[in-house]
């Protein structure tokens, strides 16, 4: 086995995987320091819609209603008695759920969470089924269509392909 192949051998891949896992573990478990009050206000503001704006969050909007809600959030954060969710809950109570930028996972609103997952699962399942069907088809005798396609390609020679050639 030459040196290049030895370097790329499976123990080296395992080592690389181990390094990646260790680095990810360090990076995700260590404390990144306390947020400033301003950053906590920003984080909450990003989850609340400005009630008088065109779909903007309180964080983005410069409208007076957004400013008023930001001030309320700032007061709540400064008081330090409520969690982020409680602060948002209070605002939602005052303005109704239409100020929530994250739809709830109940009732009709849950569809917005369920449908993408369902579509994703169906797409992956469809892809897997297609690959399975193609695998089963392999080894079949080429049809006339297959032969015609190859003839066409060979005769035309119009495929302009600049893909990798090693």
């Amino acid at each position: 086995m030459n040196l290049a192949r030895r370097i790329r051998s499976w123990p080296v891949w395992m080592l690389m995987g181990l390094v990646v896992v260790v680095l990810l573990t360090i990076g995700t478990t260590r404390d990144d320091g306390p947020r400033t009050q301003s950053e906590r206000i920003d984080a909450i503001s990003k989850r609340v819609a400005c009630p008088t704006c065109d779909g903007e969050s309180v964080y983005v909007s410069r409208a007076s209603a957004a400013e008023s809600i930001r001030n309320q959030i700032a007061r709540d954060v400064a008081a330090g008695a409520l969690t982020d969710d409680e602060i948002i809950g209070n605002i939602a109570g005052a303005f109704q759920a239409r100020v929530l930028l994250v739809p709830r996972a109940t009732g009709l609103d849950a569809l917005v969470w369920v449908l993408p997952i369902a579509v994703g699962v169906c797409a992956v399942a469809g892809l897997a089924a297609a690959f399975r069907r193609w695998r089963l088809q392999q080894g079949a005798v080429p049809s006339d269509d297959d032969r015609a396609l190859v003839e066409e390609l060979l005769a035309g020679g119009r495929i302009d392909d600049d893909e990798e050639v090693l």
Partner: protein, 654 residues
């Protein structure tokens, strides 16, 4: 001057009418000439194309003239014109609201029709070209009707109006208003061309690969313009809106992003059809989706059904756009169904571990991503229709669902460039992925060393390094073999685009996850330290004219004077913040002046954002644009009979 005001309206309406007649005759002559194979009739088609192009240009010039001369006899000028608007923003005011933006759309569309008629003037007797031109004229007829009906920019306004409010304040304080909308429209409208050829292929039954070859550069060019337009829009948003972000998942932003997603899927999967003759229905569906989504997006954001910070609401245009969308989708589905037998692909994909397998997975992800964005955009409409209550779906929703999809796409960008066509062996993958994977590991190590935290950003940095390594490997091999020519062609230009995408992904992950922000109340000549930077208020300045009052706080940031401002547009009454952005290679210091500003108090409240790596979003965008241009040049030709892209000699070696 007074002698020439008032003529723009009648002239503009006349130009649009002439254009409509030209488009109708163009459509009729393209259809009849193609059906009867009559060269005399077909020779008329380019002339009608020119007529529509000249007519739409004439209408556009009339609109500009009306704006320049402040012709307040027109309702549109009353809406967006003003004597106090500076010349540049007065010029761009033409596309600052619904009617003018549709006029701009129409002009781009007719110019593209002229472009096709000129490019294929020697092939007009080819039925596919004939039907493609007929489709372009059909779309043109629709937009001429719009501009003469519900989106008429030349409609007369109430008498006696002598001045107007001018364009939206956000559209008159940054030069990008000149570039962003036209470039975005070039992309948006540009997808009409491949769509038209797809229709031509379906009608003629020539659903092989010929139409793809004819349109691949059009598709790539449209995609490039759309990409560049979206990036410019993000830059504009960052520089103008004052909230420190580049993307807010606003419905109008989404309306441009959804066709971009399906268009991106198409420019990948089309390679599979060209190489393997497969995915014909899928590619046609993607093109139809991309084009129809541009119409649906226009409906959603221009009809008033959805609120957006930059939507132009108008109650009349909605039914027209929705009907046109339905016609496009229905006609396309019927045509695809009609040609179902011809569209069946004879080949199979041998293995998921192949270039075509990766493209297919990429398409599934882009499709799911497009669905997520579309669903999030229209879901408030669904809830309102079913339960008569208002709901907003915002950034947190899109981030939660978009991040996993984005990370998976990044993973595919690591693997796909090294995969050969048909099938890859484990040995081959081990050989080709080894150094790119170590590149990712190194990127992760650096990220952890500099203090990055959180699973999503760390995975982005790892996969970004990995994918960057894979792209650089491809470019290194190509340039070693072909010199600078190894940078052109779809595969190599595509790798430059990939590097641009990676830079954007990494920069977005860094800026979204590690931005620090703080509100500071500054007193005159009293420096404050925060986040390793010094901020000192050294004074105020006030500028006033008949359009605006602008108050700037002169703030020294680490000794460099910056001037965040608040501008009050007198006719609108809005306060618009203008941030000051100090850009370096590693971070931006973004400072906004928070209203109310009381100059005599000697204090100013500012908000400071320290945003890492933002500049790399714009660098990445530029690389995507450059890569797209490189991809449009013809690359190295190869024999179509080559079984795989790599003969894998090492794998076979003992």
């Amino acid at each position: 001057m007074l002698g020439v005001t008032g003529v723009a309206g009648p002239l503009g309406r006349a130009a649009l009418l002439v254009g409509l007649v030209g488009a109708v005759f163009g459509l009729v002559s393209a259809v009849t000439g193609t059906r009867q194979s009559d060269p005399k009739v077909l020779r008329l088609v380019p002339r009608f194309a020119w007529l529509t192009g000249i007519a739409s240009l004439g209408a556009f010039v009339c609109m500009e003239w009306a704006m320049i001369t402040r012709d307040f006899s027109l309702a549109y000028v009353q809406k967006v014109g003003s004597w106090s608007t500076p010349a540049l923003y007065n010029f761009t005011a033409v596309w600052s609201a619904l009617e003018g933006s549709i006029l701009l759309w129409l002009m781009v569309l007719t110019f593209l029709t002229v472009g096709i008629a000129v490019k294929y003037r020697a092939k007009l007797d080819d039925p596919m070209v004939g039907w493609a031109l007929a489709t372009m004229f059909f779309v043109g007829v629709f937009f001429f009707v719009l501009t003469l009906g519900p989106a008429n920019p030349f409609a007369a306004g109430p008498a006696g109006v002598l001045d107007g409010p001018g364009p939206n304040p956000l559209l008159q304080n940054h030069v990008l208003v000149v570039f962003h909308p036209p470039i975005l429209y070039l992309g948006y409208v540009g997808f009409t061309v491949p769509f038209a050829f797809a229709i031509g292929a379906l009608v003629t039954g020539r659903v092989g690969e010929g139409w793809l070859l004819e349109t691949r550069r059009w598709a790539l060019m449209s995609w490039g313009f759309l990409t560049f337009g979206i990036i410019l829009g993000s830059w504009w948003s960052y520089e103008v809106l004052g909230w420190g972000g580049v993307w807010a998942w606003d419905p109008v932003e989404n309306a441009s992003f959804i066709p971009w997603l399906t268009g991106t899927a198409y420019i990948h999967s089309v390679l599979v059809q060209e190489r393997r003759g497969m995915l014909r229905v899928w590619n046609l569906s993607l093109l139809v989706s991309t084009f129809s989504l541009t119409i649906l997006g226009t409906f959603l954001t221009r009809s008033g059904v959805l609120n957006s910070v930059h939507a132009f609401s108008d109650g009349q245009i909605g039914p027209f756009l929705l009907t046109f969308f339905a016609v496009i989708v229905l006609a396309s589905v019927v045509l695809i169904g009609w040609r179902g037998d011809l569209l069946r692909s004879p080949g199979t994909i041998d293995s998921p571990l192949s270039r075509e397998g990766a493209f297919l997975a990429n398409n599934v992800l882009f499709g799911v991503f497009a669905f997520v964005v579309l669903l999030g955009t229209v879901f408030p409409l669904i809830v309102e229709a079913l339960q008569d209550r208002q709901l907003v779906v915002g950034e947190p929703f899109f981030d939660r669902l978009g991040v996993p999809v984005g990370l998976t796409l990044l993973f595919l960008m690591c693997v796909a460039p090294v995969l050969p066509w048909r099938k890859a062996s484990g040995e081959l993958l081990s050989q080709r992925l080894f150094w790119p994977a170590w590149g990712g590991t190194l990127a992760l190590l650096v990220s952890v060393v500099v203090g990055a935290t959180g699973i999503a950003p760390l995975l982005t940095f790892f996969l970004g390094g990995f994918a960057g390594g894979a792209a650089l490997r491809q470019l290194a091999l190509a340039t070693r073999r072909q010199g600078l020519r190894g940078l052109v062609g779809r595969a190599n230009g595509g790798m430059v685009v990939h590097i641009g995408v990676i830079l954007i992904a990494v920069a977005l992950a860094a800026s979204n996850s590690f931005t620090r922000s703080q509100e500071l109340t500054l007193k005159l000549d009293t420096p404050i330290e925060w986040g390793g930077h010094t901020f000192e208020l050294v004074g105020f300045s006030r500028e006033e004219d008949d359009r605006q009052t602008r108050i700037s706080a002169r703030v020294e940031v680490d000794g460099t004077e910056r001037a965040p401002a608040v501008t009050k547009y007198l006719k609108m009454g809005n306060n618009i913040g203008t941030p000051s952005v100090l850009t370096t290679l590693t971070k931006d210091i973004y400072v906004t002046l928070e209203p109310p500003v009381k100059m005599d108090s000697g204090t100013a409240k500012i908000k400071v954002f320290v945003k890492p790596m933002i500049v790399w979003i714009w660098v990445g965008g530029a690389m995507m644009a450059v890569g797209t241009v490189l991809a449009m040049f013809p690359g190295r030709r190869r024999k179509p009979t080559d079984p795989v892209s790599a003969p894998v000699p090492e794998a076979a070696a003992p």
